[in-house]
Symmetry: C2
Subunit: 259 residues, 2 copies
């Protein structure tokens, strides 16, 4: 018995050591725009599990969004890093990022539709429990997942990390199904206190289930270790806000998915 | 081996079943005002452990604050429910509560000193690691632990649950040692959005390490299941905000105490 027990412990340890996050590129289309997203999962886990959609920053689907999707897979979720721009569009130039972002956000229906196509890819995965999904997003992606919530996308919840904060429109009143978690830097100069107050008031008016956590001293892009490299004063990594927001997201998922 | 293993499991289970939170009344004085607090700890835990000060709502040290202290002991902390009014003052009448609260808060030095006397009682316990303490408070008690932070009390952090939100004074700039976590109901009509904005701005100006989590739809006293019994429209229990804020506090303590 002692030997069997020891063997079981060793086996468990070796499973953990060999658990490996797998990924694959997924091609999909929005009319004539070719999109390429990436699915991440841990193949040492058996059976279906909750799925999380990841929406990138305004730079496009770069390594940062993929890394977050990979980290979600390490936590035991299936994650799909969606592509909101298509045509392989990724940049580190703010002007270019702004242009591509505006092409998507100018039409709110297109914006939501593009995101929901990513959600479809996630739900199509054989590893995903399709009734246990959520969406997270960073910067532009934070605004995107809020738009998904306003459009009552079929997810249990959304999490915005240092997102733009589009206000809930009048017509979403009483119709926002997903729970909303907003993780925000107090000194993010892209989002003034007037915008924050209006954002909260509109969520109340819409009857949304929402929470907003504000991190003192944190600027925009506080979760991204490379934030300081873009030459923009308002972008800065904040280790404490990063760790806390990632933990808060996990507690939120535990609540949503009943883990 | 199988029998030994089974016995060990049974023993562990019975330890958990018999683990019991102990409590004792502690008498102390603030000059000529007699105070009575209550210490809570789990006597199945060996050795010293982190300690948490609990400051009551404006009603005085009633069963609610004691219950929270007991819950903290169940989590493995030592907790001390302090007495801020003395002379056995407890009420369920808002007018009386208001009078007693104002007697304490009218003089900020008295206010902080009264709270720190409670902290002294906590640290004097043989079970407490005196360099691993925090303070939490509800309603008036939330404002109290913020004042402790502004006075640089010797705790690692403070947590305000639906607290009044006194702004950090000018003279606290650069001198606020404890980390601050504020858990707030978005529709708490005692605290307007102007008060919230000013509160956050003053924390930034003071250079405090702070976070504020805002729960949509939650009113004042959202953690107290009896909130609705006082006949005040703005007092209401909110199960989701209660569960989330209690979880957030635990994550904050894990970070502070290095668990």
């Amino acid at each position: 018995m002692r030997i069997i027990l020891a063997s079981l412990i060793l086996l468990a340890a070796s499973n953990a050591a060999f658990a490996e996050v797998q990924s694959k590129a997924v091609q999909y289309m929005d009319e004539d725009v070719p999109l390429t997203g990436y699915l991440y999962w841990d193949d040492s886990i058996e059976g279906k599990r909750p799925g999380v959609l990841v929406i990138h920053e305004w730079w496009g689907l770069n390594d940062y969004a993929k890394q977050r999707a990979s980290m979600l897979a390490e936590l035991g979720y299936v994650a799909f890093a969606a592509d909101m721009y298509g045509n392989g569009h990724v940049t580190d130039k703010p002007g270019q990022a702004q242009d591509w972002m505006q092409e998507v956000t100018a039409d709110v229906e297109l914006w939501r539709h593009r995101a929901e196509l990513g959600l479809d890819q996630l739900k199509a995965s054989e590893y995903v429990e399709p009734d246990k999904t959520a969406a997270i997003g960073y910067c532009f992606g934070g605004g995107t997942v809020l738009q998904m919530a306003y459009g009552d996308a079929d997810v249990l919840g959304v999490v915005s990390f240092h997102g733009s904060l589009p206000a809930a429109p009048e017509e979403s009143k009483g119709k926002i199904g997903p729970e909303i978690l907003v993780l925000h830097g107090a000194t993010d100069s892209f989002v003034t206190s007037d915008i924050v107050t209006n954002f909260q008031n509109k969520l109340e008016a819409a009857g949304a289930n929402w929470e907003m956590d504000i991190y003192g001293g944190a600027r925009h892009s506080f979760t991204n270790p490379n934030a300081g490299e873009y030459g923009i004063e308002n972008l800065k990594y904040d280790a404490q806000a990063d760790a806390r927001s990632w933990q808060r997201m996990q507690d939120f998922f535990d609540e949503l998915f009943g883990d």
